[in-house]
C-alpha cells in the first residue's frame, strides 16, 4: 500500500469518525448560543474557540462534517445509481440510437458549469440541503455514465464476454454479472474523487447561502459568517477552511492511492 493511500485513508476516516461521533457526543450543544463568551480563541474549554454567537466551534465542525458528508454521499449515490446503468446500457447498445441519446444527454449536462447550475437550481427551488443534494447529484450522473461506458466498451470485446454470450446470456444479464464487477474498481476510485468534489460543492453552495440552512451547521456557511470577522477573530475562518482542506485532501489522496492499489497493471509492475 502506498503512502498516499494510508495518509488519505487516515485523514478521511478522521473526518468520517468526527461525523459519526457527533451523533452520540459533541463537547457542547452545537446550536446552543452563549453570546457573552463569543469570539473566544481556542483554549482548554473550547478547543476550536467559539463563533460570533458563542457557539462551540469544535461541536459545529463535527456536526458540519455530518452535513458535508451526508450531502456529498447522497449526491455521489445519485450519480452512481443513475449514471452507471445509463453508461452500461449505452455500452451494451453501442452505436444504436439509445447510445446516442444517452451520451448526447450526458454531453448536454456536462456542457454547463456545474456549480453555476447548482446555484440556479437551488435559487429556483429554494435553498436547502435537499436541493443542494439534487443539484450536485445531477452533475455526478454524466461522470459515472461516461466512465462506466468507456470501461464497459473494452470489456465487451473480451473473450469471457464472448463466452458468456455463447452460453446464451442476455445483454442485461452480462452487463450486471460480468461487466459491472469489472468496472467496480474504477467506480470506487471515481466515487472517492466525486465525493471530495461534492464536499467542495456543498461548501460553495452554503457559502453563498444556498446550502443547508441555519441552525444546521455547515462549513461553507461558517466561512461566509466569518468573512467580516477575519480581522478580529481569524480562527473563525481558519478552522472551517482547514476542515475543508483536510477532507478534500484526504479524499483525493485516498482516491489516488486506491487507483494505484486497485489497478492490476500497476500492481503487477510493482510486484
Amino acid at each position: 500500500m502506498s503512502r498516499n493511500l494510508i495518509l488519505g485513508a487516515a485523514l478521511s476516516s478522521l473526518v468520517v469518525l468526527a461525523a459519526l461521533v457527533s451523533f452520540i457526543w459533541t463537547p457542547y450543544d452545537h446550536a446552543a448560543l452563549d453570546i457573552p463568551s463569543k469570539l473566544a480563541t481556542p483554549d482548554n474549554t473550547h478547543w476550536f474557540g467559539t463563533d460570533h454567537f458563542g457557539r462551540d466551534m469544535f461541536s459545529m465542525i463535527m456536526v458540519g462534517a455530518r452535513t458535508s458528508i451526508a450531502v456529498a454521499l447522497v449526491a455521489v449515490g445519485i450519480g452512481i445509481a443513475l449514471g452507471v446503468p445509463l453508461g452500461l446500457t449505452a455500452a451494451a447498445r453501442k452505436g444504436s440510437w439509445l447510445d446516442e441519446v444517452i451520451m448526447r444527454g450526458n454531453d448536454l449536462v456536462f456542457a454547463f458549469p456545474s456549480l453555476v447550475i447548482a446555484i440556479l437550481i437551488t435559487a429556483v427551488f429554494g435553498a436547502g440541503a435537499i436541493n443542494a443534494i439534487i443539484a450536485i447529484g445531477i452533475f455526478n450522473i454524466p461522470v459515472f455514465a461516461r466512465i462506466s461506458r468507456g470501461a464497459a466498451l473494452s470489456l465487451w470485446e473480451r473473450e469471457f464476454i464472448l463466452a458468456a454470450r455463447v452460453a446464451g446470456k442476455g445483454t442485461a444479464r452480462i452487463s450486471i454479472e460480468h461487466i459491472l464487477p469489472n468496472v467496480a474498481n474504477l467506480l470506487i476510485v471515481q466515487g472517492t474523487i466525486q465525493f471530495s468534489l461534492g464536499i467542495l460543492a456543498e461548501a460553495g453552495l452554503s457559502y453563498v447561502g444556498l446550502g443547508a440552512q441555519p441552525p444546521t451547521p455547515s462549513w461553507g456557511r461558517m466561512l461566509a459568517d466569518a468573512q467580516t470577522m477575519v480581522g478580529i477573530a481569524p480562527h473563525l475562518a481558519l478552522i472551517p477552511g482547514l476542515a475543508i482542506i483536510v477532507t478534500v485532501l484526504g479524499l483525493n489522496l485516498l482516491g489516488d492511492g486506491l487507483r494505484d492499489w486497485l489497478d492490476p497493471r500497476i500492481r503487477v509492475a510493482r510486484a
Partner: protein, 495 residues
C-alpha cells in the same frame, strides 16, 4: 508684442499654477458609500430609503426640512402662519428660488406637488402624510394657503419628509432618471450598479455648500465595504453594514466613527392574522421568549437600544416599556401551555439580507426553540421579502427595521403586512392626529405605545443604531438619522 507680452504670459501662467495649487489643497469632492442602490430618484413615488439618502435636501427640498438633530426648520417656506382653529396654514415662500432647469419655484409648483401627492391616483408611498389636506390655494406667487380637514399637530413635521418635497410640473415626466429640484446640488450622472454623482448648484438660493461635487457609491457586501473603507477608496460610509468592524476603525487614526441613532425600530414582525399568532397569549409567549440584550450583543455587537414598543427612545414622548415583555422563558412556556401549545408549534421566520435580520434571526430562532417554538429560517432577498411578506402577507414571523420617523401610525392600518386590527388603537390615532396641544399629544402617544405593547403586536427588539464611518478630516456628517438622508450641504473637509 515683444518682451512685455511674454512676461505677462509667464506671470499669468504662474498665477494659474498658484490657483490650481490652492484648489488641490482644499478638497472639495467626496465619495460616500451606501449599501443599497436606489431603484430610481423620485422620492415622491417610492418608499425606498436609498432615494432619500441621495436626493433629500441635496437635490429636492420641501417647505420644511429636518436637521441632523431631528428638529424641523423652514425650508422653501420662509415662514408660516397658522389660523386659530389650527386648520389653515398660510406659507410665505422664499423669493428668488429656481429649479435646476432655470424655471422659478413659486406657489403654483407647491400646489402642484401637494395636489399630486393627495390625488386619487397618487403613487406617493406615504399618502397618510397628506390625507388631512382639504385644499391648497395659491394666493400669489409667493403665498400659499393650505386648508386641513382637521387640525393636525404633525403637519409641519409631515411636510419635512422626503415624500413631501417640491417638484415642478415642467420636469416631472423624467424625474425618476433626471431629478430636477431646487437644492444645493444638481443631478450629474448615474452609473447603474455603481454610483450617482451630484454637482454643486451655482444658482442655489441659500448658503453655498463647501463641496463642489459628491459621489454616492453602492457597496452592498459588508466585506467589500470594509475593504473599500480601509483602502480609502471611499471617504465615508453612511451606515456601515458590519458592526463588528467598528473597533478597527476606531483604533485607526485615519478614520472617525459616528455612532448615533436612527428612526429604525427593529421588530420581530408577527402575522397577527395567521394562527396561532391571532391568540394574544401566543404573541405574549413570543415576547417573553426573546432576550433583547443577547440579540443586540450577538447581532449588532452591542450597538442598539432595547425597545418595548414601536417608538424611538430618543423621542421625548418615548415610554420605556421593555419590562412588559421582559425575558422570561418560564412564563413563555406557561403561556404556550395555556394557549394549547404545550409542545410548541412550527412557524416560519423570513429574514431579509441586513445583518440585524440574518444574525438576529439565528439568535431568535434559538431562543424560540428554547421554549418549544420551531421557527424555520427562510433567508430572502429584499425583492422577495417585499413580494411575499410585505405584499403577500405570506409569513409567520419576520425581522425588519421600520426606519420611517414617527411611524406608530402603521398600527392603525389593519391591511398593513402584520395585520394588527384594533379599533381602540385606530380611534386613538384619530384623536392624536386631531390634537395640536403638545402635552396632550405626548400623553396620547404614551397611550398608543402602551396599547401595542400590552397587545404584544410584534416582538419589539431594539432601536437600530446609525454606524457612520468617515475619514478623520470630514466635518458636518449627520451623527443621527432622523430621516434617511445624507445631507451634503453641511459637509466640508478640514484643512
Amino acid at each position: 508684442m515683444g518682451m512685455q507680452s511674454v512676461r505677462s504670459f509667464t506671470s499669468a501662467l504662474a498665477l494659474g499654477a498658484i490657483l490650481i495649487g490652492s484648489q488641490a489643497f482644499a478638497k472639495s469632492d467626496i465619495t460616500i458609500a451606501m449599501q443599497l442602490e436606489p431603484p430610481h430618484l423620485d422620492p415622491t413615488s417610492a418608499a425606498a430609503q436609498a432615494i432619500d439618502s441621495v436626493v433629500y435636501t441635496n437635490v429636492f427640498e420641501g417647505l420644511t426640512r429636518f436637521m441632523g438633530d431631528g428638529s424641523v426648520v423652514p425650508g422653501l417656506a420662509e415662514s408660516w402662519e397658522i389660523s386659530d382653529d389650527g386648520k389653515v396654514y398660510t406659507f410665505k415662500l422664499r423669493d428668488g428660488v429656481t429649479f435646476h432647469d432655470g424655471t422659478a419655484m413659486d406657489a403654483e409648483d407647491v400646489k402642484f406637488s401637494l395636489d399630486r401627492a393627495t390625488a386619487e391616483d397618487s403613487t406617493n408611498a406615504q399618502k397618510a402624510l397628506f390625507a388631512g389636506i382639504e385644499s391648497v390655494e395659491v394666493v400669489d406667487p409667493l403665498n400659499l394657503k393650505v386648508t386641513l380637514k382637521e387640525p393636525n399637530g404633525n403637519f409641519l413635521f409631515n411636510l419635512a419628509w422626503g415624500d413631501a418635497v417640491i417638484v415642478a410640473p415642467e420636469s416631472i415626466e423624467n424625474i425618476k432618471t433626471n431629478p430636477v429640484g431646487t437644492g444645493a446640488f444638481t443631478f450629474d450622472n448615474w452609473v447603474q450598479g455603481d454610483s450617482i454623482t451630484l454637482k454643486r448648484n451655482p444658482n442655489y438660493w441659500g448658503e453655498e455648500p463647501a463641496l463642489e461635487s459628491a459621489t454616492f457609491k453602492f457597496i452592498s457586501d459588508p466585506t467589500a465595504a470594509f475593504a473599500a473603507m480601509m483602502a480609502e477608496d471611499i471617504d465615508a460610509f453612511d451606515n456601515f453594514p458590519a458592526p463588528e468592524n467598528l473597533p478597527q476603525f476606531e483604533a485607526d487614526p485615519r478614520f472617525q466613527v459616528l455612532v448615533g441613532s436612527t428612526e429604525g425600530e427593529t421588530i420581530l414582525s408577527t402575522n397577527n392574522k395567521q394562527p396561532p399568532f391571532d391568540d394574544i397569549r401566543v404573541r405574549q409567549a413570543l415576547a417573553h421568549a426573546i432576550d433583547r440584550q443577547a440579540i443586540i450583543d450577538g447581532a449588532m455587537f452591542g450597538y442598539g437600544t432595547p425597545i418595548g414598543t414601536h417608538f424611538a427612545p430618543h423621542n421625548p414622548a418615548y415610554v420605556d416599556l421593555t419590562g412588559v415583555s421582559a425575558y422570561d422563558p418560564e412564563k413563555s412556556r406557561a403561556l404556550l401551555a395555556e394557549a394549547g401549545f404545550e409542545g410548541g408549534f412550527e412557524t416560519t421566520l423570513h429574514l431579509p439580507p441586513p445583518s440585524y435580520a440574518r444574525r438576529g434571526g439565528e439568535i431568535i430562532a434559538a431562543q424560540l426553540a428554547d421554549v418549544g417554538i420551531k421557527a424555520e429560517i427562510i433567508n430572502v432577498e429584499w425583492a422577495q421579502w417585499l413580494e411575499s411578506v410585505f405584499k403577500g402577507k405570506d409569513f409567520g414571523l419576520t425581522i425588519v427595521s421600520h426606519t420611517e420617523p414617527m411611524d406608530i401610525g402603521i398600527y392603525a392600518r389593519p391591511d398593513y403586512y402584520f395585520q394588527y386590527d384594533s379599533t381602540d388603537f385606530q380611534a386613538l390615532m384619530d384623536t392624536l392626529n386631531s390634537t395640536t396641544d403638545p402635552d396632550e399629544r405626548t400623553k396620547l402617544m404614551g397611550e398608543a405605545q402602551r396599547l401595542i405593547s400590552n397587545d404584544y403586536v410584534n416582538g419589539f427588539l431594539f432601536q437600530l443604531a446609525k454606524l457612520g464611518v468617515a475619514k478623520a478630516g470630514i466635518q458636518g456628517l449627520w451623527e443621527n438619522a432622523p430621516t434617511a438622508a445624507i445631507d451634503l450641504t453641511a459637509i466640508s473637509w478640514s484643512e
